[in-house]
Amino acid sequence: MVRHGRYGKHTAKRRQRYLCRPLDGSPAHTFTPPLPRDHVPSGHEQCEVCEELVGTHHGQAAVARRHTWSARLVAHGLDKLSSGDTYANVSNWAIRAAGVTRSRRKAQTTKARTAPGAKPTKKVKNVSAATRRDRAAWHIAADWVEAFSPVLYGPLDERLRAEALAERTRLDALRRARRRLDRPQVVLIDDVPVWGRDPEDKSGRTRQAGFAVLVVAELYWPDPATLATLDPEVLDASQIEDVSRPVTRLRLVRAMPNVQATSWLLVLDELGYTPDVVVSDGGTGADLALRTLYANTPTTVIPSLWHLNQTIQRAFDKVPGAWGLDDSGQHDLVQPLRDHLRKLSRSSGVLRNSQSWASWWDDLLGIVTELRLPVEKLRKSRAKWEAPVAASLSAMRRYPRIPVSTGGLETLIARRVQPLLGRRGNAFANIERTNLLFDLVVARDHGVFTNLNDVARTLRADAESADGWTVPLRTISDPRPNKSSYSSLRDAVLIDDLARSRGLIS
């Protein structure tokens, strides 16, 4: 079998054709593999990503038929996207890394395009070369997300779902036997309002981007078998404590038009099972969704104490006499209030029983009155938070290792989700594609991108299973109505329709 010329003259990359002369004497024939290989010209035997030398027979295999890009390059690009790089950046990087040239139409001047007597064409906005390049290229990476995100996230989602359901079955059996749940299923939920640059405002101010990101994380308990092997003589107590602490990982990240109950219902329904404990941010929409979905289940909802702390601090915003400097000179609440809010933790005994919890509120109101600060907002906060927290105290006592705040989730959001939203909130418009991108974030949190060779192998295996073909691209594009715009990510009616079709609302 020998190399036998190239093909793909009109595409960005030339492909290698082979000639086979069978040993059994049958006639020679030319062929190409289902996933074509890049032609490796002499003197260029170097991988475009890792810079290793490759043989002339080992040009990079394409990620799928009719795709210019190699599987390794796509794997690398998806990795970049999952860590917060923009579509345009990744696309331009891919063009550079692959060394392809893109034929571009020459810019036509208004004068040249206008026939004598015809109406002058619309004036083209003067934009920078970089912007023009980005606008022309961004869809390369967006197409990758559309085609390959499900290939990576699908098996992960399936595995997590199966594990959760198996665990649920085990825990239900324990519950029926009236035994204590050793490793309850705990879910943490929070939402992230998204801000984007206001195109109307030349001062560069931001505004609500018209959608929000709803995040669900799961608490993963360490494997009991692993814990049993820990040797106290090798590891000290703090190290053992670190290893045996449950880990919070992202489970679902969903971009939705709003944070109302319908959006939360769709997200929690996608979770696929009923957890034992939900630590919620205390938002109205989330609360309503939790009450609706888990009304007849033994699920306990714990309002996040971190969010309660934030709510109380916000009650004193711009209130004279409430703020001062702490010991390190930082702006903070005045001493008595600060000390009292610090008691909002497991260790302080405030959460021992409903009496201690009620007296914490009484003391807070007493301190505020003594400081001659307004108490109205605090009374409203008490009316909203006291009863739900009191209802969850027994669960907190029963399971001392479950979190009482969404602190772990906040860290994950800051590390994993926020990098995707920085300075490009307005750029997201398609609900399907944006959520496929967030699936990559979840996959990243679960270690899918640890080894990019595995990622490339997975992508190639998926394409080869369908004779090299991937799903058709741009089938998820939003409609583009004449003289107006439409963004499915900002379409609240779509969410209502989806929830209705799944029987979540009537």
Binding site: G468, W469, V471, I476, S488, L498
Partner: protein
């Protein structure tokens, strides 16, 4: 082979086979249906005539001299020619849809030829298939700006600059008609029609063979045998029809009239409606007598008899006597409450002659299906006045109103649906299309399954033309058909036509035309994307349901 160069004409002809027919007939000596003596069919594809088929037919009856004078076919000419039973299969095979082609039957004054063909086919125990119909005498010429001086084929040919070398010869007529149809379709393409369905939808009501009612002279054999009791009515009975009921009938006169009505009901007499309409006595008197007979027929479970009496009674229903200050609506709903369940329990007229009412024999709407329409209209009263309260479409009143109250209180759904459709129709007629659309949507959501409303609603959904829209429109049609329960209401035929139109559009969306034609002029579908490697699909998670 000359193929149409205009892309719109190419698109108009895509997947289309036009079968132009013409029949020459002779009347039956016994007054029965017309008999065929000559039959011709011309097939057109891709904008050109392709094939012709012609035969003389032995009608089994002497050819009337008057008919011979017209078409020149005499008894001697048809000796040894096949009878219709021998060519019937050929006729059906010409009309058969094949190779992803859509057959459209075309003729000049198509309802005549269709009725003749149907009668002949029925005589040999076959059914005329339901295919789309294109009438060169109908709305098509006017739609494309052609104004013939007369309705005849000759008039149309004259205005189009064509000539017929042998008028009233089946083959020559069919060929001339085909030439005219080709020119008319060319003009339609020039007028902007690039889709046959869009053009077809604008051609009025008789767009399918099933929508053509058999004319009286071309009753099919089955109908002829079914109408035997009516045509075999005794002379004594027919004599009774000549006696009219006076303005102030005496008790014996009324009793005698009532007895004659009973006899009509028993014999399923088609003249009963006329007898009742000619009676001069006050409506309340007639209604009392008819109700009595109706009660008797229902008690003995005589479905056809009940339908016969009901057909005569319905025109009088709006003159029903009211008690005190009782409104017309209340009185009508009371009537519905007392009679509706009993009428519904009777079911439908049967298949054999004795168990079919006159309307069923004439393939018209049976009174057992028509009464909810009449009752609904009377109960509704003035649609303009009732529109505001019948069904709320937004805000707190959404889904509430008289319609919902009627449905909740057990009024027959068909009655409520008929009233609702009447309001929608009124709003459309008076130019309030936006209100009609909103009401239609809410009506469908509230469970209204009136065939005309469903047809209109499906049409509106299908306008957007995307695959999803057409699928949804098709589902609306199918959901409505699920509520049909064998009804003979004409609206169901219109709904069937709508469904076929939508299904055709959906099929053409799935099969993309390449713009090329094969040697027969058939549009060649575009090559599928790697047929041996079908496209992979993935269901989007956030697609609008």
């Amino acid at each position: 082979m000359s193929l149409p160069a205009d892309p719109k004409l190419v698109s108009l002809w895509a997947g289309l086979r036009l079968v132009v027919i013409d029949t020459e007939t002779t009347p039956s000596p016994d007054g029965g249906p017309l008999r065929t003596v000559s039959l011709a069919a011309v097939t057109c594809r891709g904008g050109v005539m392709r094939g012709t088929w012609h035969t003389l037919v032995d009608p089994d009856v002497p050819i009337a001299p008057a008919a011979s004078r017209i078409h020149g076919i005499t008894d001697e000419l048809v000796v040894g020619e096949p009878r219709f039973s021998a060519v019937a299969q050929q006729v059906l095979s010409v009309l058969e849809e094949r190779d992803d082609e859509r057959t459209v039957l075309c003729a000049h004054n198509a309802s005549f030829d269709v009725a003749v063909l149907r009668a002949e086919l029925a005589r040999v125990g076959l059914d005329l298939p339901d295919v789309a119909l294109l009438d060169t005498m109908g709305a098509l010429p006017a739609l494309v700006g052609v104004r013939p001086a007369s309705k005849s084929l000759e008039g149309l040919l004259n205005v189009l600059g064509l000539t017929n070398p042998q008028p009233h010869q089946a083959l020559a007529d069919a060929q001339s008609c085909a030439q005219a149809a080709l020119l008319l379709l060319e003009r339609a393409a020039a007028a902007g029609f690039d889709d046959f369905d869009t053009l077809h939808a604008q051609l009025g009501r008789r767009t399918h063979t099933h929508a053509v009612k058999p004319n009286r002279r071309a009753f099919d054999a089955a109908s002829a045998s079914a109408s035997a009791p009516a045509s075999n009515l005794s002379a004594t009975h027919l004599e009774g029809h000549s006696s009219l009921l006076g303005r102030r009938p005496s008790r014996p006169q009324l009793w005698a009239w009532s007895e004659q009505v009973r006899e009509c009901a028993t014999l399923r007499c088609e003249h009963l409606t006329g007898r009742v309409s000619e009676a001069q006595a006050p409506a309340r008197v007639l209604l009392a007598e008819l109700h009595e007979v109706l009660d008797e027929r229902i008690s003995v479970s005589d479905t056809a008899g009940t339908a016969t009496v009901l057909a005569a009674l319905l025109p009088l229903l709006d003159q029903m006597e009211r008690r005190g200050s009782q409104s017309r609506r209340t009185a009508t709903l009371r009537w519905e409450k007392s009679w509706g369940p009993r009428l519904s329990a009777l079911g439908r007229c049967g298949e054999d002659a004795q168990s079919r009412c006159p309307a069923c024999r004439a393939q018209e709407t049976c009174a057992l299906d028509a009464w909810p329409e009449v009752v609904g209209a009377i109960a509704l009263g003035d649609p303009e006045a009732a529109a505001g309260t019948l069904l709320g479409v937004s805000g707190a009143r959404k889904g509430k109103g008289t319609y919902a109250t009627w449905r909740a209180s057990g009024v027959d759904a068909r009655v409520a649906d008929a009233a609702l459709w009447r309001v929608v129709e009124h709003q459309k007629r008076t130019g309030h299309d936006d209100r009609a659309v909103a009401l239609e949507r809410q009506a469908w959501a509230s469970g209204c399954r009136h065939p005309d409303l469903a047809s209109d609603y499906a049409g509106r959904i299908a306008v957007a033309g995307k695959k999803r829209d057409l699928t949804r429109a098709l589902k609306v049609c199918d959901d409505a058909f699920a509520a049909r329960a064998g009804s003979t209401l004409e609206g169901w035929t219109r709904l069937l036509s709508r469904r076929q139109q939508v299904a055709g559009r959906l099929q053409r969306l799935n099969v993309r035309a390449s713009g090329a034609f094969d040697e027969d002029g058939n549009a060649i579908p575009a090559r599928a994307h790697t047929p041996q490697n079908p496209r992979r699909t993935r269901v989007p998670r956030f697609a609008r349901p």
